[in-house]
């Protein structure tokens, strides 16, 4: 569905991605891990049109995404959830969700879609009149996911969904991610929390210094001594099953 080929991108003269290729087939969770500064966020921003690539191809189905703006990509059925959620902090939960349905074209179309999301996230229905910025960190992340769901995307790009969250909330967020995937949504997730992403992803890419360092199933990644040493530390940390 999403195909990235030989992508080169960065800021100004600084080339951060130096020829990255990856595929996200329909209905699959793909995780992208790698050290800080490897270009993980740059990858998502370039795919979603916030940054223009220097070279390379990005296609969604048969559509070329290079040169499109983020709002045009949103209308093609791809959602983006920024690192801290990207909420409209001064607006209510309900207003945030209604804006999630903006791409559906009218408030009449967005209404039932928002109701469907309330079914899935009953906690948000109780908080519908509350200002988004006053929610807890975990609730804000749930709202960001729920808002991306309103437009009924085929593909979601998530930038570090577990960043700056307490461990109990991380479990909740990942439970929601698995639930979205069961609805048939493909996800491309950039993540620092390696154990968490390896537990849900069907396919993993390791990005290092702007290049692909690994591409395969999570099991293969765990089996590869070299990659484990480089990116997972020497053997799995105590208490987390390998």
């Amino acid at each position: 569905m999403l195909e990235v080929a030989e992508l080169r991108s960065g800021y100004g003269p600084l080339e951060i991605l130096q020829g990255v290729s990856l595929q996200v087939p329909p209905g699959i969770i793909v995780g992208v891990i790698g050290p800080n500064g490897a270009g993980k966020s740059t990858l998502l921003k370039t795919v979603y049109g916030y940054l223009s690539p220097f070279a390379g191809r990005v296609t969604l189905g048969d559509r070329n995404l290079v040169g499109l703006r983020p709002d045009q990509i949103a209308r093609l059925g791809a959602g983006f959830v920024a690192q801290a959620g990207g909420l409209f902090a001064d607006m209510t939960v309900h207003e945030n969700l209604t804006l999630g349905g903006y791409a559906l074209g009218s408030r009449r179309a967005a209404g039932p879609a928002v109701d469907a999301v309330y079914e899935q996230f009953p906690l948000l229905r109780d908080r519908r009149r509350q200002v988004a910025g006053s929610l807890s960190g975990g609730e804000q992340r749930a709202l960001a996911l729920a808002r991306a769901l309103v437009a009924r995307p085929r593909l979601l790009l998530l930038d570090e969904p577990s960043a700056a969250l307490a461990p109990c909330f991380i479990e909740d967020v990942y439970a929601a991610i698995v639930a979205l995937n069961r609805m048939g949504i493909a996800l491309l997730i950039v993540e620092q929390n390696v154990e968490m992403i390896l537990s849900v992803a069907h396919r993993v890419f390791v990005l290092d210094l702007g290049r692909n360092a690994f591409d395969g199933a999570p099991g293969e990644l765990r089996a590869s001594d070299r990659i484990r040493r480089l990116y997972l530390g020497e053997g799995p940390p105590a208490g987390i099953p390998a």
Binding site: D71, A74, L87, A89, Y102, R147, A148
Partner: protein, 263 residues
């Protein structure tokens, strides 16, 4: 809301005045049609400002900071519009008859019906603006873009379209204001300029991008201007707004209702 201060706002007020003059005096249309023409005309002109002037500058700048460039740009537009109005309509004062003639006699004073009409229309338009921003899909989009443009884009919101719409709505209100005030002010090319400066004072007083603050600030400035003549000579009245503005900038630079962290 745009982070662009439009210094040419007052010229759209003047455009509204000339449009109602053309409609009511030259073409003998009813007053309401003249007000509608002023609003629609200013809106149509306003729609062109973002794509023709501001967007190209923004594209050229890229990630570099704009500094005072937008201010200079709209100052250029302001001067251009004033000289165009002078060339097209001449420098004469144009008189527009009151849309609501007559005076309401109260026991202690008299108020012209035209002034009451202005107050009534201002309340209706302001309520309409609040309802639009709170309920309409595009109104929500305007607020979303003001708060978090990157996230708004991920919702499928076309930033350029929202910027154009916001600017056009703002100047349409100025155009309607110009039409309603024309019978009280007379119309001439520079009629809007002092109002732009006053609007500046009100915007700073209320806190940039804060609509409720602007409402509060405009009431405060109006009251201050009216009441201060009891203690100082009336020829000093026009300076009052700016004394208040300077005092607020020194004491509370974020505006009366603005939050210190917001910008």
């Amino acid at each position: 809301m745009l982070d662009v201060i439009n210094v040419a706002h007052g010229e759209f007020f003047a455009v509204g005045g000339y449009l109602i003059f053309a409609a009511v005096v030259l073409m003998h249309w009813p007053g309401a049609a003249g007000v509608a023409l002023a609003g629609l005309g200013a809106f149509a002109l306003g729609l062109a400002v973002y794509p023709l002037l501001i967007a190209p500058l923004k594209r050229r700048l890229g990630r570099r900071p704009a500094g005072s460039l937008y201010l200079v740009l709209t100052l250029g537009l302001s001067t251009f519009m004033q000289s165009s109005l002078l060339a097209l309509a001449g420098g004469d004062y144009r008189r527009v008859p009151p849309l609501a003639p007559g005076i309401l006699e109260l026991s202690f004073t008299g108020v012209s019906y035209q002034r009451l009409l202005v107050v009534g229309m201002a309340s209706v338009l302001l309520t309409g603006l609040f309802v639009f921003l709170a309920w309409h899909r595009q109104g929500l989009a305007v607020r979303a873009v003001a708060q978090n443009p990157d996230a708004a884009q991920a919702m499928g919101i076309n930033l350029d379209r929202i910027f154009s719409l916001t600017l056009a709505l703002g100047v349409a209100l100025a155009g309607i204001g110009g039409a309603l005030m024309a019978p009280l002010f007379n119309v001439y090319p520079a009629v809007g300029f002092p109002l732009t400066i006053k609007a500046f004072a009100i915007t700073i007083l209320g806190g940039m991008g804060n609509l409720l603050g602007a409402l509060f600030a405009s009431l405060l400035v109006g009251m201050a201007e009216s009441l201060v003549v009891m203690v100082i000579p009336s020829q000093w009245q026009n300076g009052v707004a700016f004394v208040v503005m300077i005092a607020v900038l020194l004491l509370r630079p974020q505006g009366l209702l603005g939050r210190a962290s917001s910008r």
